[in-house]
């Protein structure tokens, strides 16, 4: 049973650039959530996708956008990168209609120089 997978593992970008992170949910899951975990902090919710639409959004600027594909995989896009965007980005998947328990991937470590 394949778990949540994310790519790439690590990424280094410079300020002002754009980045795309990818996530494949656990087998059988249809809902994907993205979290940002800054160094020494707990994860913060960015947004959640279900049926290819953004269902919930946390307190993140519009520079953060996402997409969900028909096969339930998802992308997180961040434009105009800032130094403060350096973090571990975690993807979590779950199964509607009662998506209680979220299962996390290994994360993508983004470093902005």
């Amino acid at each position: 049973d394949a778990g949540v997978t994310q790519s790439p593992t690590h990424l280094i970008k410079t300020r002002g650039q754009q980045v795309t992170l990818r996530c494949s949910p656990k087998s059988g899951h249809d809902t994907v959530s993205w979290y940002q975990q800054a160094l020494g902090q707990g994860p913060q919710f960015i947004f959640q996708y279900y049926e290819e639409e953004e269902r919930q959004r946390g307190n993140f600027p519009d520079r953060f956008s996402g997409h969900q594909f028909p096969n339930y995989s998802s992308e997180l896009n961040v434009n105009a990168l800032l130094l403060g965007d350096s973090a571990l980005y975690l993807c979590a998947s779950t199964l509607a209609p009662l998506p209680v328990t979220q299962y996390f991937g290994p994360g993508t470590r983004l470093t902005v120089l």
Binding site: G40, G42, P43, L98, Q102, F104, R109
Partner: protein
């Protein structure tokens, strides 16, 4: 709105000693409660969860937690820790379909 407080940022303990990691939450409605573990340079792994029913919940790796509604707590315990338990532990809360809200984490350091 919900929030989670993990009272201890670091907990040092010797191997084979018992440990308790404290978690308190605030919410005006019923919530689900979770503990996740994060090993160095890895993602989050679900340790255990409280959805309903028995207030004592058993998880993986010998961990257990007790839901106390009157004290709004969900403390994590293990009777005898191993070196391999050294990791960051996160308590989290959520409503039905809502997002997970995490505490700031507790670093458990097990010494030989």
């Amino acid at each position: 709105a919900q929030s989670v407080t993990q009272l201890d940022s670091q907990v040092p303990v010797f191997e084979e000693a018992p440990v308790e990691l404290r978690c308190n939450y605030s919410s005006s409605v019923s919530v689900y409660l979770f503990w996740y573990v994060q090993y160095p340079n890895q993602g989050l792994q679900l340790l255990l969860k409280y959805l309903s029913g028995s207030t004592l919940v058993k998880g993986i790796n010998g961990f257990e937690a007790e839901f106390n509604k009157s004290q709004t707590s969900f403390h994590l315990r293990k009777p005898s820790v191993h070196i391999s338990d050294t990791a960051e532990y996160f308590c989290a809360v959520k409503r039905n379909t809502d997002k997970l809200i995490f505490g700031t984490g507790t670093r458990l350091q097990v010494f030989p």
